[in-house]
Symmetry: C2
Subunit: 196 residues, 2 copies
């Protein structure tokens, strides 16, 4: 997540003292684990308990629930960005499609991550900017290549594409194959067509 030049370390500046740094990591790990298992609604008290720290300690490191969620999901976003590299060769349409499908599958089960991402795309806090920059650095080449090849309509930008995909990913999935079908339909709308 260092597309903007400033390192993540600066933005997330760790606490100084050794025990503080240790506790920071423990809380983050417990949160990641708890959100994965029990859903994003796990209480902060529960997370503090899992981490073996007091609730006060949790709150010194993460001033509120939102901050903790964001810290957890910065990693996830990094994963999404990295996965773009796997699609940098081959057919432009298939590459873009592949990444977006991966993106959706990745998000699918994590409603909270999806909600965060939607905010990243517009909000302007420093951490958001950084995530946004990374996502764009990852996705823009794929989209640009597809547009240059003339297989994707030229009047869309990555922000729109990602909003669309994330919006679909957030559909409460009773049947994952249906959600995937909806994505295919929407992505079909991206294709360049000479007529009309």
């Amino acid at each position: 997540m260092n597309a903007a030049g400033t390192s993540t370390e600066t933005l997330l500046a760790r606490p100084q003292r050794a025990d503080a740094r240790r506790n920071y990591e423990k809380v983050l790990a417990a949160a990641r684990e708890a959100f994965a298992e029990g859903g994003e609604s796990t209480s902060l008290e529960e997370i503090a308990r899992r981490a073996g720290v007091g609730i006060g300690t949790l709150y010194r490191h993460f001033p509120n629930r939102q901050a903790l969620l964001e810290a957890v999901y910065v990693n996830e976003v990094e994963g999404i960005c990295r996965s773009a590299a796997e699609f940098d060769g081959g057919d432009p349409w298939e590459s873009l499609n592949g990444w977006l499908e991966r993106l959706m599958a990745y998000i699918g089960t994590k409603q909270a991550l999806a909600a965060e991402l939607q905010h990243y795309l517009d909000k302007d806090a420093a951490l958001f900017q950084d995530c946004r920059a990374s996502l764009f650095a990852a996705g823009e080449p794929l989209l640009g290549r597809a547009q240059d090849a003339g297989v994707v309509r030229p009047d869309v930008d990555l922000s729109e594409v990602m909003h669309m995909v994330i919006g679909i990913a957030k559909i409460p999935a009773t049947d994952p194959s249906q959600t995937e079908h909806i994505l295919r339909i929407a992505l079909d709308g991206l294709r360049y067509r000479a007529d009309t």
Copy 2:
């Protein structure tokens, strides 16, 4: 919305005594007003206060927050269904498009309504079934006509189309014109195309 499992009339049956019926309406009106003004997060205590009833009274009529939200939004859904009638003539593609655009504009500012709708589309509680049936009765002719005319791909159903549109409507709108552009792209994916 209990599992008593009887008819819809029973489920929507108003309280018997005059004061009860009066209070039911007062709470519903206060809730509608409060959700419209202050966002869907208004507390139930606040709504009871506005309605001039005790919190206990509110809870007898609406067993939980969700039930109150749903009761408020049944009206809104009816409005959406009615608007389908305006599009029953003319070009099939434009008709479907028009209704879906109307649907999205209608939902746009009401995130809570959108969330409810997404559930209506799948859940199977009696009231949901009812809303779902109304929405389908309204939208299915429009979609069917467009498919029969060969302008919409035959492998989509109304459930998918509505999930897609609502998913896009839920995108946090920093710029409404962008959201509308995204909708146009996605709807473009619905068009029938002979090639590939």
